[in-house]
Every structure is written in C-alpha cells, then in structure tokens.
Symmetry: C2
Subunit: 493 residues, 2 copies
C-alpha cells in the first residue's frame, strides 16, 4: 500500500460520520444505526425498534408508568379499531381533524380469480374501521357509559399502546406511521379541576424529562393556532436539539367540554342536576427516544441517560492470552452479579471481537460507564473505568470495592452533568429579541436556535405569518415562566 493510500484509508476521527456539524439529519440516522436501536421496516413509514432501542423505551415506560400511577390514574386497554362514525362525530366538532389514517375495509383474505391472495370481496365491512390515531372518541364513549354521578369523578384512565398516523416524511423515532405511546384521558366535575390536571400531568412529564431523560424542557401553553383540535388549552414541553431546532416533547390538553359534548359524558351532580363533565388528555410517545439522541449523542455515537440505559455498565473482558479466558470471564460474571446486587445493571461483552472493537461498541451504544477487565487488572485488583460523556478525561482507576461502592454515585453525577450541559446549551439557543424585524434578521442569518419576544408582537401579525412561511418556523409555546407574556419561535421537528 502506498503512503497516500494508507492516508486515505485512515479511519475518520469520529465513530460517526458525518458529524453533527457536517450533516445533522444523517448523523442522527447513523447514531441510531451504530447503536443498533432501530431501523426502517419493510412497511412504508414504519419502524422496527431493535432490542437496544426497545430496552430504553421499556425503561422510559416503567419510570413514567410509576409516576402516572402515583397520580391516581389506572391503566386500561381500549380497542385498536374505531368505527368510522366516531370520527364523523368528531369531524363535526373539530375543524383541524386529522384525516391521514389507516382504514380497514375487509376482514378476510382469499384467492382471487387470478389465484392470488387478495382482500375477499365478500368480506367488505358494513362500516369501515380506522386504526386509532388517538383514542379520545372511543374512550369518550366508555366514559359516557361509566360516568353516572359525581361519585364516579374524577375518572382517570391511561393506556400504553400503538398508534397510527399516515406520515408523509417518516423518520426513525421522531415521526413514523406507527408509534408507541401512552395516552391518558381524565374526566372531572369542574373546569378548574380539569385545567389543573392538564398542568399537573405536564409536570409529571417534566419530571420524566429532567430526572430520567436528562433533557431540560420549557413548559408552556401553545398559542391558539397550535392547539390540539378541540382543546381549550394545549400545554407542551419544548426542548431544543443540538442543531438548534425545537422539538415538542409531549403535550397535555385541557379539552374543556368539547369531547364531553360530542361523547355525551354527563354526571348527576350533588345538587341533583345533570351536568357535562370536563376532560383532559395527555400523551408521551416513543419520539422522546429520538429527542434523547438529538440532545445527548455526540460524534462518537449515543450517550445514554444513566437512569434509562438498557445497561449502565459495559464490562469489557480484555483477553491477551487465551489461557486467561476462563478466569477473566468468571471475574466479569462475578462483577456483573455484584453490580446487580448494588442495583446497577451491567452486561459483559462476551463476543469474539477485538478489545478495541468492544470498546467502540460500548462507546457507540452510549453505555454510561465501561470497565476493562484483563489479567493485569485481576492480578492488581484494580479496575479502569470510563464515563461515556467525559471521553478520555473520564478515565479512573479504583479497586473493585471502591468501584462497586462508587459506581452508583458516578451514574448519578453523570445524569446531573448531562442535564446541566443540556440546560446550558438550551439557554444559549433562546435569544431574546424585541421586534419582528429582529426575528426576520435572526432567521435570515440562519442563527442557531429560536427567539423569545413579547407575544403581543406576533398576535394577529401578518408580518409574523410571512416570516413563518419564509423560514418554516412556528410559535413553540408561551412559557409558564413568562406568565403568557412571551412567545418562543423556532424551527421544529
């Protein structure tokens, strides 16, 4: 090989190419691929969530499920298929009703005249069925049946399920035709309770974002144009990704009496009269996995938030002499067991890969802490471990006992550092401005992030509508911290 060829074959300096700087969308796809989290399915717009990506979602589910149940919400399961007539009812009430749905029209396959498998013409459904794009209407029907008196309120229901919305520009985790989520649906006797609940559930989501995902987010209300169809208020968590685009993390809606009216959810009040209930709905989807990637991952791949990592410690056996294999693997198994006893999840890389490849696999998967175990480490009784988010600077040496007693704290500190780093980035991404002219200049200059300005400046403004179109930006939210006086405008996922 010539020297020139050797140079051109030099591995890139980062594990992921292109880098964030070079091409953020492609970097995103490649981080997912390198971490083996998900891939596109043969069905257009759908994804296959691979074990490593699904394990993270399972951890999100478990954490969030606990938080939701602590609010007195009970899980249930409602049908996947919703009769078309339910949507017709909703469509009457709601202008912005989403119509991109998967529609079931037949209930049998059979061989057609060409001897090909096809939908059986004799199995056409009397009424087409729609795969749920959300379940307000079908859960509303149950609430109509289940709520009789004020004693039945509040009624708080949640389901974990799959959802389908036909997406024209799908992207792994962020926007897929089918996705996984939880949808909560609560009913109350009064408007005050319902609005308070919608804010309370947003608070639950913020807990999940900050204390599990390590993602700082701005809680606020959507402007009327950006509300969920039929909602009186839509509350949202807006996060900023490393490329400066905003991402709606999740939403919680105060639905007023819109669905109580269309589904006829009435209760006998304590004063003996029939009253309409007030409802909320709130959802948290698998797109948060995508948000975690775009907030935390770097040019070497994923960085898993420690509390949601499929495993928190990667144990890497370093075998230099085959005669040591048994001893080293036994030591690794023992270490894994001891970590488990300390409440820390770990996995030993028992593949036949080279040591450096094992290290790079752990880096690309973003395992929070990796620890090397070779014959020397065992002989000396000392381990070298590295925090994923600190790179080479995160390397430390400790005795086995020191490692076991400190690793919980290391993970805790890593979570805090990730959250603080992301918070600093987010702050730098929101620029305060004082006029629409400044807004136009900001987006024309392709500056990173979004702007914050007085809400009154954009309300009903034609110039704002022009800027929205020209730069593909939207108003993200009216942050609670600004008491509805300010609005954040940004490009968004």
């Amino acid at each position: 090989m010539t020297e020139a060829a050797a140079k051109s074959n030099k591995p890139p300096r980062t594990a992921i190419t292109p880098t964030r700087e070079e091409n953020f969308p492609e970097w995103y796809q490649n981080v997912i691929k390198a971490a083996d989290m998900a891939e596109n399915a043969p069905v257009r717009g759908c994804m296959i969530v691979k074990p490593y990506g699904y394990a993270m979602w399972e951890n999100i589910q478990q954490g969030l499920d606990r938080l939701i149940k602590a609010e007195g919400v009970e899980n249930a399961y409602f049908p996947l298929l919703i009769p078309l007539s339910y949507f017709a009812k909703e469509a009457e009430h709601i202008d912005g009703f989403a119509k991109e749905c998967a529609v079931v029209t037949h209930h049998r396959l059979s061989m057609n005249e060409k001897n090909e498998l096809a939908p059986d013409k004799d199995s056409v459904l009397a009424e087409p069925l729609v795969i749920r794009p959300t379940s307000e209407t079908i859960i509303g029907e149950s609430m109509h049946n289940w709520v009789q008196s004020y004693r039945d309120l509040p009624l708080k229901l949640n389901q974990w399920c799959n959802i389908m919305r036909w997406e024209m520009r799908p992207r792994l985790f962020l926007r897929t035709a089918e996705f996984l989520w939880q949808e909560g649906h609560n009913a109350f006797a009064t408007a005050e309770e319902a609005d308070k609940d919608a804010r309370q559930m947003l608070g639950v989501y913020q807990d999940m974002f900050e204390n599990y995902l390590a993602i700082p987010a701005i809680p606020g209300a959507k402007t009327p144009e950006e509300r969920f169809p039929g909602a009186v208020e839509t509350y949202t968590l807006e996060a900023f990704m490393q490329d400066g685009k905003a991402l709606q993390g999740c939403t919680s809606h105060f639905l007023g009496q819109t669905f109580a009216k269309s589904c006829d959810i009435k209760y006998l009040s304590q004063d003996g009269t029939q009253k309409l209930a007030w409802t909320t709905s709130w959802g948290f989807t698998s797109r948060t996995v995508g948000a975690a990637i775009m907030v935390h991952a770097d040019d070497d791949g994923m960085v898993m938030p420690p509390k949601l990592a499929p495993y928190q410690v990667a144990i890497l056996p370093i075998v230099r002499d085959d005669a040591d294999t048994g001893k080293i693997l036994a030591f690794c198994d023992d270490l894994q067991r001891k970590l488990a006893a300390n409440g820390v999840t770990a996995r030993t890389d028992k593949t036949e890969a080279r040591s450096s490849d094992k290290m790079w696999t752990a880096i690309k998967k973003g395992v929070p802490v990796r620890v090397e175990v070779g014959a020397r480490e065992i002989a000396e009784g000392k381990l070298t471990f590295t925090r994923r988010d600190l790179g080479k600077d995160g390397k430390k040496t400790a005795t086995v006992d020191e490692f076991l007693s400190s690793v919980g704290g290391v993970l805790e500190q890593m979570h805090k550092d990730m959250l603080e780093r992301a918070r600093a980035k987010m702050k730098a991404m929101v620029t305060d401005i004082a006029s629409l002219k400044e807004m136009r200049d900001f987006f024309a200059a392709e500056k990173t992030g979004g702007v914050r300005l007085d809400y009154s400046l954009i309300k009903g403004s034609e110039e704002f509508e022009a800027i929205k179109k020209e730069f593909s930006v939207t108003s993200r939210c009216l942050p609670f911290s600004d008491k509805g006086q300010k609005v954040i405008v940004a490009k968004a996922y």
Copy 2:
C-alpha cells in the same frame, strides 16, 4: 310489603346468578361484569379491558417478562401492519393458513360527494396491508437481514403487542378479534437446539401457570392435525375448566426450517458453508385471564390468584359513627403503608358504600384477603381478616403486628391451596379409557371432563373422526408424562 313479596324479593344465595351449575357460560360473563374486569367494545368482537382486569394482565406480563428475559430473550417491536405479499409467501407453504384478517386498503379519510366522511378513493394503497394475526413472516424478514453467521445465533426475540384475528363467536378474554399477547421468535443453528428451546419455553409457561396463575396444566405435544400450520411440533399446556372443558393455555412451536425457508434465514456455519437456520415461536395471550376465571372463580365471583391480584388485601373501613371517619381512614392509610412496606399490595375502599356492600365488592372482585377496620378494631388493636377462597371459614382475628407479619404467609398458603384444589379437580376430569367405544359412551353420557387413551387407538381412525364431529371434541395433546403413547380427548374452549 306482604310476606310473600318479601320472600320473592329475597336476594339469591350467591352473588353471581346463574351459578356455575346452572349456566356456566352466563356465569362466566357475569363474574367478569361483577368484578368489573372487561366489557364488550362497540367494535364487533373486540373488548375493553377495564382497570381491574388490566391490572391482572399487567401483573401476568411483569412476571412472565422476567421469566422470558431470564432465558436470554430480548424484547423488540415489529410493525403492526404486514404487507399482503408476505402472507402470499406463507400461503404457498402452509395449507392451514388463517385468512380471517383485518385488511387496510386506504390511508386517508375525506368527505365524499354526499359530504360524509369516507375512505378517500385517492388513497388506495398499492399493496393492501394486513393487521398482524401473528408475526412469523415479518420477524422472519428481519431475521433474514440480521443473521449472517453462526455468531449471530441463537437469536431470541420477543414482543408484547396486540394481535387481530377476525372471530365469528367472540367471548371476553377467551376469544376476541383483537387480543393482547407476547410472541417469541427464536432462531438456532441446529434442529436439536430449536426443539429443545420450544420445550424450554413451554416450561417457562408452565412456571407461570402453576406458580403465578395457580393453574395446573398438562404439558404435551399436539397431534399432527392440531399443530400450528408449518410447525414440526406444537407443544401445548392444556388446562381443564370447572365445567369440564379443556382450554389450550398457550403453545410453543418447533417450526423446523419452514419459516427459515420461506424467509431465507441463512447463516455462514463454522465449516464455511451457508446453512438454513431452525426456528421456534411461542405465544401467551390475554385469554389466560379467562382461564384463571374459569378455574378459580366461584358462585360469589372472582377468586384472584394472590401473586397476580391487582391488590392482595382489601381494607374495608367500617364506619358506624361519622365522628370516627377521620380516625378510621387514617388507620386504614397507615395499615396500607405498612403492608406496602412488607411487599403486600392493598387498597382501602373509601367509597360511600355501606359496609356490607364494601364486603361484597371485595368478594366479587376476588381480592385474596379482606380486612375490616372499625372503631372497635382500633380500640382493641385487633383485626378480623378473611381469605377469599375459604369463605366464612377463612375468618381470623389477629393483632395488627400479627396480621402484618403473617399476611405474606397467608397469601402464599392461599396460592398453594388454590393450585392443589385445581389439581384435584383436574385429575378428576381426566378419565382413563381403553377403547373408542368407551369414548363414545363417555361423551354420549355427557360426563364431565375428557378421556385419556392409547394414541394408537385414534390414529387414522374413522370412528374417532365420527366421534369428533358428533360430540364436538378434539384431541388436546399427547402428554409428555405418557411419552407420546397416550392422548387426551375433550371438548375445548
């Protein structure tokens, strides 16, 4: 009211009417209704799993998920919709291919010429999509992509999801168009490993049946006629319900190379040649909730297996004087916290219902243990608690500390007793016979349960085919304990 009227208004002696004896199918529906576990959905053949029923399913899921992961299986998620062509491929291979499927043909709703919401004619899919009735084909496609060399095997995947099969005679939990399940799909390098795996996963299910559901079951192989289409062996757990009908609890299939061939799952073996993999699949559904009802419930309603009960202890505040309410509820809350600290789940009935209604609610829901807390109990420091499965004979008195320290053991004993009682019933339901004549006589006499006889007596027998048709019975399994020599024949759910 006259004495006669008073008599005719006398409440029935059982909480559930009709009783098991009087009308088993109706009793079953009414147990579900009285326990508030599920109800029929507005969509034909589908069900709504209500919070109390869903909580039991969640406990089953959590327990089974742990057992499955302990076998080295990883969870993932594959798409709900499967392209029609995948089924065509399968149909070529498999005669008994099930064709009752929900078919998606459109991806948009719009207003038609009559201004009604309808599937948009311009949104017809190029290829119809089928809602998964099972995922062998789509997971097989991924296995084809993911398996390259012997190093990638075994590959063990599982998903928890919803499934759809158009059912003509739906019944809550037992047979619904949409149901919830887990489906495992494993691939191996050799036939031996795959067959061993199929048996191993059946063992995992038996663990769940006996040690969680408290349902004894007969593990065995299906006869060739009863196998899953395409399977070389279908292993099954057969249980007997209180009405004497059998129920297939779950199945585990050794698929040979059927799906490896149709999906082209190949690996580079250690000897450097390309070889076809060997696969298994194994599924466990929400119908087991129905099985638990039909095995354990009695004429007063549900009896929850203690390890899967949504809550194990019902705390019933008995308020005779409103002035005591605060004190009693505080005591109940404290008791609930102390039970939780002991790993026992409890719920306090804080409704305004009368004391006797609270008791009957707990009975009908089958809460394993109920405990009464009134002013007297608090004053005396003694609690009265009752085991659901023992009726009035299960009533005991204990100090609070005694109760707290003994309740775990009480629940453990209740589990054992339920399993033993069900085992005794099951044994009584299988009658050994020696001829087809005896089989005919048995079913003609409408005896309870099924028969066990030499498999050679039914193999290829026309008389057996006649009996099957006449009495709607099927061969349930060749029990492992009889080494394939005997077969069990019964009516089944």
